[in-house]
């Protein structure tokens, strides 16, 4: 190897390095030093900046801030106005009238109620087609109109109880930008990539000026924003493939804010003194599920609520909270969390961890132990109580969670084997064959609900086979109550129905709820007006109130 060749190699390397540029055009951004930029790190992956295509939470976080929405949640998780300054409902609940604030889109064009009406009517027009993913946020709406630039009228075909929570995610798009793209038939609407046409015109508190889903996305303050002016000039969201790298960047002052700190790191991170680690409210609830399909083929003893009740005493939530979540979680008994209060049924308590009780209940039910210590089902066709538990790799720490359950079950004579798959394959294994749920026994997963309980209550509906259901639970009485609460406008009456629904689930135990995880986040010193990141996708307030102090 001679020196010349070496030099050639080096030159090549240099040339290649110089061309290894970030994906999007390098529009050199200079943030004013007085407003400043917050550098946020996340491991949530972006998918798209096209609201008709995107599903990921972080994309929705951006939409919430760059587009006007009628209402938003405040720091007490109550709905207040965002773009709407007031609203009235007709007596029959079928007509909602909103008074909206004047404002401008980031390109200077006026923001009016007409934009909202156009957006809503377009979604309704194509709700079975290209706009299907945005339809749930104006479900039961039939027509939107704008009698004047600051009045929006929405007509519904039913008096729905959760109109406002739905509208909280109804993003209003700039008509002058999107109408030509939609055209008359919405062809190619989903192929449109706003990320390639920067800046993306927005009408909220910020608008997107740089988009790089594998790198950093920048949102710049919108001068025409209808609300109180944000303290910050810009928000930067940097994506990291793993949390170690993200935490390292926070420690070395390459980031200011991390929206989710892994529980194993939470205690050590705060020790350094220049980072505050805050265990905030989280919406994730971990669960253990039984296949509740009445047609399931094998191990039908698991359909017996008495057996489930016995097994429910073998879940050591305390150890899970300690080992898996390092104390940063609360035991739970139901899918609905305190964030949806008063809808969480506080009378229901997590099943007690008591192996002796579980053992005696199993003995009484006739499940005798075999010579290998594993219990057998009573009666004819006796088989050992040995079951597979499907776990998705996408859920953090699921292996440790399962190991704790497995070890407890072993002590009551039930053998559990882990079946680990990626999320998609896991769901297919649960629903097979063909969404009939005939195969699996048990699974462990999680749910992330919303502040309004309607969504989370719907996931166990009979109509959710092949949809959201991961337990194949189907109870017509429960579904009837669900329909009822959907149109009960009186909050107290609605609460009673929702509490009853949770009681039914607690009795039938398609799930054994384990714990609600805290969403730990971290800020470097020198910031004020901090709000928990759980609000980031439901409110403009977190980024509005954030302010640098140093």
């Amino acid at each position: 190897m001679n020196a010349r060749r070496l030099l050639c190699l080096i030159a090549l390397a240099l040339a290649a390095v110089a061309t290894a540029a970030p994906a999007s055009p390098a529009a050199s951004e200079k943030a004013a030093k007085d407003g400043g930029i917050v550098r946020m790190g996340t491991t949530e992956p972006f998918d798209s900046m096209n609201p008709f295509v995107a599903f990921q939470a972080i994309s929705y976080e951006v939409f919430t801030n760059v587009y006007p929405v009628l209402v938003q949640y405040d720091t007490h998780f109550k709905l207040i106005g965002d773009w709407a300054k007031s609203w009235t409902t007709s007596k029959d609940g079928l007509t909602w009238t909103f008074k909206v604030k004047p404002g401008k889109w980031s390109d200077g064009k006026p923001l009016t109620a007409d934009d909202a009406a156009w957006t809503g009517n377009t979604i309704l027009k194509f709700k079975k087609g290209a706009a299907a993913s945005l339809a749930p946020f104006i479900s039961h709406a039939t027509k939107l109109s704008a009698p004047d630039p600051t009045t929006l009228v929405i007509k519904y075909d039913k008096a729905v109880a959760n109109v406002l929570p739905q509208l909280e995610q109804f993003f209003i798009l700039p008509r002058h930008v999107w109408e030509p793209i939609v055209g008359s038939a919405a062809k190619g609407l989903k192929d449109y990539d706003p990320g390639a046409h920067l800046p993306i015109v927005g009408g909220g508190s910020f608008y997107v000026t740089k988009y790089d889903k594998k790198g950093t996305t920048i949102l710049t303050r919108n001068p025409g924003y209808y609300g109180t002016r944000p303290h910050l000039d810009a928000v930067g969201i940097s994506w990291f493939a793993n949390s170690d790298a993200m935490i390292a960047a926070l420690k070395s002052n390459d980031l200011d804010y991390v929206d989710s700190v892994p529980q194993t790191v939470a205690t050590t991170l705060g020790k350094s003194g220049d980072i505050q680690v805050i265990p905030g409210p989280g919406i994730e609830v971990r669960d253990f599920g039984f296949n509740s399909s009445p047609k399931k083929k094998k191990n039908r003893e698991l359909l017996d609520p008495k057996l489930r009740a016995a097994l429910s005493h073998a879940f050591d939530r305390k150890q899970m909270i300690d080992v898996v979540w390092r104390g940063l979680a609360q035991p739970r008994a139901t899918l609905v969390t305190p964030l949806s209060s008063p809808y969480m049924n506080t009378k229901l308590q997590p099943e007690k961890y008591d192996l002796a009780l579980a053992n005696s209940m199993l003995d009484k039910l006739g499940y005798k132990r075999g010579s290998d210590g594993i219990r057998r089902t009573p009666g004819a066709n006796s088989h050992p109580m040995s079951y597979g538990v499907i776990t998705p790799t996408s859920v953090q720490g699921i292996n440790r969670e399962f190991a704790i359950v497995r070890d407890s079950f072993q002590k009551i004579g039930v053998k559990l084997t882990q079946r680990s798959y990626d999320a998609t394959t896991a769901f297919t294994e649960i629903t097979k064959p063909n969404n009939k749920y005939l195969d699996f026994d048990m699974m462990m997963w999680d749910w992330l609900g919303y502040f309004d309980p309607d969504y989370i209550l719907s996931v166990v509906g009979c109509d959710q086979y092949g949809g959201w259901s991961d337990t194949a639970y189907c109870n017509p009485a429960y579904d009837k109550l669900y329909q009822q609460q959907g149109v009960t406008l009186d909050p107290e009456k609605r609460q009673q129905i929702v509490w009853k629904m949770q009681e039914i689930l607690y009795r039938d135990k398609p799930y054994i709820q384990l714990a609600q995880l805290k969403l730990v986040y971290a800020f470097r010193n020198g910031w004020t007006g901090i709000a928990p990141p759980i609000l980031n996708a439901s409110s403009k307030l977190p980024w509005l109130n954030l302010q640098k102090t140093s």
Binding site: S243, A248, P262, T264, S420
Partner: protein, 315 residues
């Protein structure tokens, strides 16, 4: 009837002790080192339940507790003792290694023998297939197959075996080709012996030592591949292997917490075993036939692992 009974052909038979290969091995430092390490590891694997200070599923303290006099290598992300986990880890790592190597040997050996023995079009066809397999990047393929079949020990073994058979096939084929041309094979054939008998009685014994040598190397590759698979989150989460220990630590932020004791030991263990096996395997190959240019050195087929550099090579 054996060829010996036929009185026509006498395959060389000698006592194992005087076998040239064994003699060469006894003198080789590498073989001795490799063999010694392997024996120790196997011993630990067999005796793990009795010599491990704590249970494999026994929580003895806090998550990522640092090393102490009670726990020389501290605790992992579940509060389990690292020393015990390392010992139990030998079992899974060795099982995966040996089983995957076995699968690779069976497939590769069969392909190589058939291709080498029958030659002609069979040979060409089999070698084409082998070459296609070689060109496909193995790790992406493993990822996809693991995602499809799910994470279980059995699947991991099959995946590694099915992807690694190619190098064995080529090596075996070359050897079989040369054996096929030997005198006594020709004579036996003329006498009407069937192909099956020829393969089993005459070709196989000649090829067996080479198969053994390549198997040893294959075990090294397999153990190595298993850590890669486990690291990408595709290993069997219930089977404590060294690869899984590294992955668990990494996924649960051992780096940020600074829990080096959860990461360092498994990596070193893998390296030691792989080095030992490599030395042993190449020493056997050398002893077999110093003239046999089974070129492990680099410049042929490079997959996830190249053939490792041999200290004694190209002198």
């Amino acid at each position: 009837m054996s060829a010996q009974a036929e009185g026509l052909v006498v395959a060389p038979r000698r006592r194992l002790r005087d076998n040239a290969v064994v003699v060469a091995l006894r003198g080789s430092h590498q073989a001795i080192f490799g063999g010694a390490v392997l024996s120790v590891v196997i011993l630990i694997a067999l005796l793990a339940p009795w010599i491990a200070p704590y249970g494999e599923h026994e929580r003895v303290g806090e998550v990522f507790e640092p090393p102490s006099s009670a726990h020389w290598l501290g605790l992992d992300d579940g509060g389990f003792d690292m020393v015990s986990l390392m010992m139990f880890g030998t079992r899974v790592s060795l099982i995966v290694g040996f089983s995957a190597a076995l699968v690779a040997m069976l497939i590769g050996g069969s392909v190589g023998i058939i291709a080498g023995f029958f030659g002609g079009r069979t040979d060409t066809l089999l070698m084409r297939i082998t070459d296609y397999f070689i060109s496909i990047p193995d790790l992406p393929l493993m990822i996809v197959v693991a995602a499809v079949w799910g994470r279980s020990l059995r699947n991991i073994i099959l995946i590694i075996g099915v992807i690694y058979w190619t190098s064995t096939a080529r090596v075996v084929r070359a050897q079989v080709k040369s054996v096929r041309e030997r005198g006594y094979i020709r004579r036996t054939r003329v006498l009407g012996a069937s192909n099956m008998r020829l393969i089993v009685r005459h070709v196989l014994p000649q090829v067996a030592p080479l198969l053994v040598a390549t198997s040893v190397l294959m075990v090294a590759y397999a153990i190595f591949a298993e850590t890669a698979i486990a690291f990408l989150g595709l290993g069997d989460p219930s089977a404590t292997s060294w690869g899984l220990l590294i992955e668990n630590a990494f996924a649960r932020d051992a780096i940020t917490v600074g829990a080096w004791w959860a990461i360092v030991p498994p990596g070193i263990a893998v390296a030691i075993v792989v080095v030992a096996l490599t030395m042993l395997g190449t020493a056997i190959e050398d002893a077999l036939n110093p003239r046999l240019r089974v070129s492990h050195v680099s410049v042929r087929r490079f997959k996830l692992r190249a053939a490792p550099p041999r200290p004694e090579d190209e002198t």
